[in-house]
């Protein structure tokens, strides 16, 4: 009689134990694949920050060989771009696009997982700003491949995306500005005007928060096209609004073309994990929850300066990815905390029941819950911190161009030389990424090795 209950308990314990081990194995493998994004991103960015983009690319290419994760494809796309492989970049970014499309709709399993295990089990489709920048970077790839029609397609796709997002679409100011430049280069001035107008409205409404203040260059472009299209009353009212009474638009001139310099400067901020105890009224306990934060403040950027035909120009910030990223997390925070609290309660309850059954099961469950409580630190961290732009009117022909990077003290830390051919009434693009000067040491060593061989 006495034996029976003990054997029952034993049997129960045994069953529970296998259950827990199976659970740990399952969850462990899942967590490994997703939660390590933070450390992966740090090592990947390390290459860029040391001026070795190819090292970063190698790290990125090692991950997600099946090309299923949006985040990995985005990183690969950006790094292939940085290492001048534009068609390769487009190929992988197209994969990312398809995967984002496949993540459309509310996932039942992923949402359950996010309130029982952790947030990293939710499919990552990118924040709206990241999804729009995906199109912007694909467009830049097409531009650099000389396929301006392809760039136009990307802009139209971004438009469809914004349309799908609803009544008040999440416009991206830089995307609209780029769209305008692309339309203008195709001679579609009416469409370009609409894009410039939309870009300006976004800068005006959100400038100073997620966006930098409206660039002077955009104001000039908007006025110029209004004048070219003969929309006099709108031209005058915008001129007044901008306080640019002295501005007079350039005339269309066959002897001139435009140089468009786009500099992707620095690196987007990276999310870190933090944990705090929060009090749950449901279980009358303090529970530990993990969530993502931006640990480091905005970095100081080196400022670029373009020299062409003995004239110096500074660039204007047209997109502040740093601000967009921080704003996006801020907006997502209430949802993250809500799910974290729900998750903590579920985890507490599993621990509690396991503890009631046996102390080992309870311990195992506690460990499992602790290990699995991870914050979702995923974001497109190979994006630049800021996108800077300058449009310069130049006479038709070949020009030497120099981009200098200056530190806070005004000293030149790096120089990029470029040759550019300006065509009549056409823009020529110079699009660069800059994080750190490419170490000259390596070049010297390589030269020495070559000399030794000879």
């Amino acid at each position: 009689m006495l034996n029976k209950p003990t054997s029952l308990i034993k049997k129960h314990w045994y069953n529970n134990q296998t259950l827990k081990i199976a659970l740990i194995v399952c969850v462990g493998s899942l967590v490994q694949s997703c939660a390590s994004y933070g450390s992966h991103a740090t090592s990947m960015r390390g290459g860029l920050l040391a001026g070795h983009a190819e090292a970063s690319l190698a790290i990125a290419e090692e991950k997600d060989k099946q090309q299923k994760e949006v985040i990995s494809s985005l990183d690969k796309g950006m790094l292939r771009r940085i290492t001048n492989d534009y068609s390769g970049s487009n190929q992988i970014l197209e994969v990312a696009k398809h995967e984002i499309e496949a993540l459309h709709g509310v996932s039942i399993t992923e949402n359950l997982a996010s309130v029982t295990i952790n947030e990293t089990l939710r499919g990552y489709e990118g924040d709206p700003y990241e999804q729009l920048l995906l199109h912007a970077y694909m467009a830049m790839n097409y531009i650099q491949l000389g396929q301006i029609d392809g760039a136009r397609v990307e802009m139209l796709q971004a438009n469809v995306k914004m349309m799908e997002w609803g009544e008040e679409p999440e416009e991206d100011a830089f995307l609209r500005y780029l769209e305008g430049i692309i339309y203008e280069s195709l001679g579609e001035f009416d469409s370009a005007l609409i894009s410039y107008r939309k870009a300006y409205i976004v800068y005006k409404e959100k400038g100073g928060n997620q966006y930098p203040p409206a660039p002077v260059a955009l104001k000039k472009d908007l006025l110029r096209l209004l004048a070219w299209q003969g929309l006099q009353s709108e031209y005058k009212s915008y001129k007044k609004e901008f306080g640019m009474a002295d501005y007079s638009p350039v005339k269309q001139n066959k002897d001139f073309g435009e140089l468009v310099v786009i500099l992707n400067n620095g690196l987007a901020p990276i999310r870190s994990e933090t944990a705090i105890p929060i009090f749950s009224s449901e279980v009358q306990q303090n529970l530990r929850v993990a969530f993502p934060i931006y640990k480091y403040p905005k970095q100081n950027l080196f400022s670029p300066q373009v020299t062409v035909n003995q004239k110096q120009y500074s660039l204007e910030t047209v997109e502040d990815v740093d601000a967009l990223a921080r704003y996006s997390l801020e907006q997502a925070m209430p949802g993250i905390m809500l799910r974290a609290t729900a998750r903590a309660v579920v985890k507490y309850n599993t621990q509690h029941t396991a503890q009631e059954n046996s102390s080992i099961a309870g311990l195992l469950m506690t460990v499992t819950n602790l290990i699995t409580e991870r914050a979702d630190t995923r974001s497109w961290t190979t994006l630049p911190q800021e996108i800077q732009l300058k449009r310069i009117l130049l006479p038709v022909g070949e020009h030497q161009l120099q981009i200098k990077m200056l530190n806070v003290a005004g000293n030149v830390v790096d120089i990029m030389d470029e040759k550019v051919v300006i065509k009549s009434q056409q823009p020529s693009f110079v699009i660069k990424h800059w994080n750190a000067p490419v170490p000259k040491k390596i070049k010297i060593i390589a030269d020495k090795q070559a000399a030794n061989k000879n």
Binding site: C26, L30, V106, H352, T353
Partner: protein, 203 residues
């Protein structure tokens, strides 16, 4: 409380297994090339084929052809110019242009000359022959046939979308322009409309 938590842990296991299962091998089924396979709602082979069919029928049945035959006493020579993609998708316009070319050549009513890109390669070959080929097989430069007409066109699209639903409208315009006079002798048009609905839920 107990039954609730037990369910939660079972759920976790089921979830884990679901994720593990998801890495299965792909299944391949061969289908006829003229079967309709609409997967994403994007431009696909069916659209391309429909456009080619419509355009070929139209271009061969119109009066420009008989008129040219009557006036000149020979089949017109056509060159394919650019078909611009102004739609919101990356569309390969070459597939239906190639379909059209094939049908037109096979009909025997129209001759085609190689397009600007193709000519470059052919010309360099003729140049090579000038140096290396034997005299009886050598082809001389300056014997190319000048085209009478050029085929140009564009694909445009209009997309209307709300969350999860899209109406896509494609319009394909092709124009045959007489070289020298710039007269438009034929305009072909094909319109395609689709609605795409995306599911609100997934596994």
């Amino acid at each position: 409380m107990k039954s609730y938590t037990l369910r939660a842990s079972q759920l976790v296991i089921t979830l884990g297994l679901l994720f593990l299962i998801s890495g299965c091998n792909p299944t391949v089924t061969r289908v006829e090339t003229d079967s309709v396979t609409d997967l994403s709602g994007n431009w696909n082979d069916t659209d391309s084929r429909l456009v080619a069919q419509e355009m070929i029928q139209d271009v061969l049945s119109r009066s420009w052809l008989s008129k040219f035959n009557r006036d000149q006493g020979k089949a017109p020579t056509v060159i394919v110019g650019t078909v611009r993609n102004l739609s919101h998708e990356h569309i390969n316009t070459r597939t239906f242009v190639a379909d059209m070319e094939r049908e037109l050549i096979n009909s025997g009513e129209v001759e085609f000359v190689a397009s600007a890109d193709d000519r470059k390669e052919v010309r360099s070959e003729v140049k090579e022959q000038d140096l290396h080929a034997s005299e009886e097989t050598r082809k001389a430069m300056g014997n190319e046939v000048g085209a009478d007409f050029m085929l140009q066109g564009s694909i445009n699209s209009i997309v209307d979308a709300v969350s999860g639903e899209q109406a896509r409208f494609y319009q394909i315009d092709l124009t045959l322009i007489e070289l020298g006079t710039n007269r438009k002798v034929w305009l072909g048009q094909k319109k395609i409309k689709k609605t795409v609905e995306k599911g609100g839920f997934r596994l």
